[in-house]
């Protein structure tokens, strides 16, 4: 038998006699109340239950960053957290960052700088990139921060280090760095 190939089929064929919980999530400003198998990750909830397929499943083990989303203002790996642990949380996915008609400045910069090839990692890269600039603005230190007590400057090394949780198998790193740097300069 072929594996189910749509979210509807997968949901229909999933065992029902497993422990479930009801959770309310606020995703891109819209409230959703869902009753889910406790095992459902936040990533699978977004993709399979809310049809928000912008967040990507790369490794499903927190190693690649393709599933990066913002939860209550902080970037996390949506694959390594359970939806039931996010009662009342505000989640922003790439769909909430910008639209085709109204691109976010970071999305615009990725286009302008040719910062992707296949595009699979791009939603995670963009969600992470926006968070990186916020984290630097909030003076949160990184491994390459020379002085822990000084104001952190936006340098290539800072951006590269902070983006290390987002892999790009096409190797668009040089242009991802250019795109993020461009947005940082626009905001300065």
């Amino acid at each position: 038998m072929n594996a189910p190939n749509s979210a509807e089929q997968r949901r229909d064929q999933a065992p029902q006699d497993v422990p479930r919980s009801t959770v309310t999530l606020i995703v891109n400003g819209t409230q959703h109340t869902l009753t889910l198998d406790n095992r459902t990750t936040l990533l699978d909830t977004l993709r399979e239950h809310l049809a928000l397929t912008g967040s990507k499943k790369g490794c499903d083990h927190g190693q690649c960053g393709a599933c990066t989303v913002s939860v209550n203002g902080e970037r996390i790996n949506a694959c390594l957290t359970l939806a039931v642990m996010h009662e009342g949380d505000e989640i922003t996915t790439i769909e909430g960052v910008g639209t085709v008609e109204h691109l976010d400045p970071m999305q615009q910069a990725f286009v302008a700088n040719d910062a992707f090839q296949c595009g699979y990692c791009t939603p995670g890269q963009i969600c992470s990139a926006n968070a990186v600039l916020q984290e630097i603005a909030a003076n949160i230190p990184s491994h390459v921060t020379a002085d822990l007590t000084a104001t952190i400057e936006i340098t290539d090394a800072e951006i590269r280090e902070r983006m290390s949780g987002n892999l790009c198998r096409c190797g668009a790193y040089a242009n991802i760095l250019k795109a993020i740097t461009q947005v940082a300069k626009e905001r300065a």
Partner: protein, 316 residues
Amino acid sequence: MRAFSYERAASPADAAARAAEVPGAKFIAGGTNLLDLMKHEIETPLHLIDVRGTGLNDITATEEGGLRVGAMVSNSTLAANPRVREAYGVLSRALVAGASGQLRNKATTGGNLLQRTRCPYFYDTAMPCNKRSPGAGCAALGKGATTRQLGVIGTSDACIATHPSDMAVALQALDARVETVTPEGETRSLTLDAFYQLPGDTPDVENTLAKGEMITGVVLPAPVEGRHAYFKVRDRSSYAFALVSVALIHAPDGTGRVALGGMAPRPWRRDAADAALPQGAAAVMAELLDGARPTEENAYKLTLAERTLAALLAEE
């Protein structure tokens, strides 16, 4: 992933009592290591107790001049705390050397201590592992195994995995204590020496917590004067476990403390090695690595540890 029931605990004492009472229960906080292991069905809890709502989110000053860090404080928050950056630099440095930005936002102080001591064979369920299935044997000690990342000291004939935490190495250097609450509602305060347990014949047991006992926080003693540094050597420049890491606190009079990561099943420090610090890196490592039993593939770590400390000392 195996199915499990789920509840949210409102206080540490409630969480501990429930964990002792419900069969197959485990605590979950950040979940970055536990969920990963559950996906591989290496961890198979029947019940998860979500402990994030137990009120352990603060970093507060202690009467002794130190800091108490709540068990749910994230690795990012702890690394960025102004008092930690100013007075416990080794801890900030170690935290930001670990994992990725996304993981540090989720990972907690208590969970970081409780992440599994592990090796690639622990994750490979097709291979024997005494930690995963007690008595099954150790693939890492088998012929032709890849061991260059694995432990060189404190290991046993049953297991040579390393504890991957960077944070814990800094905490070991700082003489931090782990605070817990038991299912009976009693509190305990443990040094890291008393908290972590070496593998011996039971590598599946990694610490001395009783069934249901929960970490409530970590207490840092008053700051130690001197230079705080953390040097992590790894296969790529970011987002990789340490091959060797060195936490150093070096006082102006030449005395100090040295703890190692990437070498042992727990953060590794010895008083005799600290006492040898004025004599230099070779003298420290002669004490710190006495009794090491590396494999042919990871014997380089002994040299690398000495050179890493020497490099740190040469920066002064």
